[in-house]
């Protein structure tokens, strides 16, 4: 489904501050995989995500989605197949528009927009049902402006919006990092439910070791722009946070 071949990205090349965010990265993600990516600051995990989403263009290498080369494709064009949830809960929704309008926007992701009415009457019921899935009671407030909701509620909606049109790839960029522990757990559980229900291929970047182990069926650890450790299935769920941390430090000292 998703392939990265020899992807490299460096910042401030040729200066004292030169930093190689990604070095010759190769990665293959199959359909239906739920991949968690962990690593310290500067490991390149966010850069990886941003290259897949189209925010950055790599210096070298290719990004292929189902065989199609999308390396240079603009962000909004890729959005046809790739959906994204940001770390900042405020970034995923438009504060001044209503829940209904936001969802209607998401429902049109990847489709050509015309002068047809923004939220069709028949659509309203469908959207309402989708919001009800979240179990947060938001379906009774479809006309409320997003701005009055809490961060957790907005993130939940962003998640729903991302999954609504069954994207080929779902990108989660430390999406629980800015939430309080209770809300973070709720959103994470929701993530698992939605991914399973919709059967989405997912890439989740996180800095929480327990989360990375618990969620998903594959894990990679990044350090200084390279993948240094990988675990799948049993090998993954059997890991403990302590072990992972040890491996983490090992990788750090190896590359130091």
């Amino acid at each position: 489904m998703l392939q990265l071949k020899g992807v490299a990205k460096a910042w401030n090349k040729g200066t004292v501050n030169e930093c190689h965010a990604l070095k010759q990265l190769d990665l293959s993600v199959d359909d239906g995989q739920f991949l968690t990516v962990i690593g310290g600051n500067g490991s390149g995990k966010s850069t990886l995500l941003n290259i897949v989403s189209g925010l950055y263009v790599p210096d070298a290498g290719n990004v292929l989605l189902d065989g199609e080369d999308i390396t240079e494709m603009a962000e909004h064009r890729r959005a046809r197949w790739i959906a994204r949830v940001f770390q900042d809960p405020l970034l995923g929704t438009a504060a001044g528009m209503t829940i209904e309008e936001n969802l209607a926007l998401a429902a049109r992701r990847g489709k050509r927009r015309t002068l047809a009415w923004g939220v069709r009457r028949d659509e309203k019921l469908v959207l309402r049902d989708e919001v009800a899935r979240l179990g947060l009671g938001l379906e009774d407030r479809m006309g409320s402006k997003i701005g009055v909701l809490s961060g957790g509620q907005r993130q939940a909606l962003t998640l729903l919006m991302a999954a609504l049109e069954r994207p080929r790839l779902l990108l989660l960029d430390e999406h629980t990092a800015a939430l309080d522990p209770k809300t973070a757990t709720a959103v994470l559980t929701l993530t698992e439910t939605i991914v399973e229900d919709y059967g989405l291929t997912t890439l989740m970047v996180t800095h929480s070791l327990p989360d990375a182990i618990k969620v998903g069926n594959r894990l990679i650890m990044m350090e200084e722009g390279e993948i240094v450790f990988e675990a799948q299935g049993e090998g993954k769920s059997g890991l403990s946070a302590g072990e992972l941390l040890r491996l983490f430090h090992q990788a750090e000292s190896l590359s130091a």
Partner: protein, 305 residues
Amino acid sequence: MSSILLGAAALGLIWSITTLGVFMTYRVLDIADLTVEGSIVFGAVTAAVAIQAGIHPVWATLLAFVAGMTAGLGTAFLHIAMKIPSLLAGILSMIALYSINIRVMGGSSNVSLLRRSTVFSGLTDKMPKNAAVIMVGGLVVLLVVGLLYWFLGTEIGSALRATGFNAQMARAQGISTRLMTLMGYVLANGLVGLSGGLLGQYMGFADVQMGTGSIVIALASLIVGEVIFARKGGLLLSLFSMVLGSVVYRIIIAMVLEAGMPASDLKLFTAITVALALWLPHVKTKWSGRRKNNATTEGRCESVE
């Protein structure tokens, strides 16, 4: 007396179309666009020259709309393609338009419409000029508000609004924010050009200096309108508040001049009024925050502007 109020209303209605244009860029797209000072004159000048060339006033006015759109296109190009910051892009356009406007007028700085027929001519024989302008102007305003309200509710319009609220999110939803910004610039300045075309026909002349201070007038009208309606209610109410704000602003100016304030003090007066209007909502929140009881309803955590 009535002539003064009618005159203010007439002028206010014509200017409200500019205010609606500025609403599009400033409020919907969150861009400060100074092209206005140039595009309003461009519209006035285009209509005037067209009428002098014998073109029917209605077509001339539509040409003014097109002229405004072209000006917006220019700024959009500077900002989107050449990546010049929006404030500077607007200023550059405004400066360039000064020269362009004089060229359109064939080297003059003033084109007279006093002896020509205008869009208002059909009615001016039957009623005082200001009343005629209010009728025609009012009709155009209703049309513009109606069309804007419909447009902003369409899929494309929603995409445009989303771009203004959160460009990152819009892109993640597959919206080309560059295209939306371009559309916003073009539509907004088209409205400003239309307003200019009507303004020139109302005043009886198009002058290259007509646009000076227009962004301030538009912003002042916008803010007066928002303060009166306290920003509650939906989009339709917001649009109407722009119109009302423009008319009220003109009436206040007329009243203040009438009461004897020297015209030289008007700019200070406008500045103080706008500053007060911008400050008052904060004072209001502070006040009502203390008096309200502290019980919060479930789910209402942060309130983000």
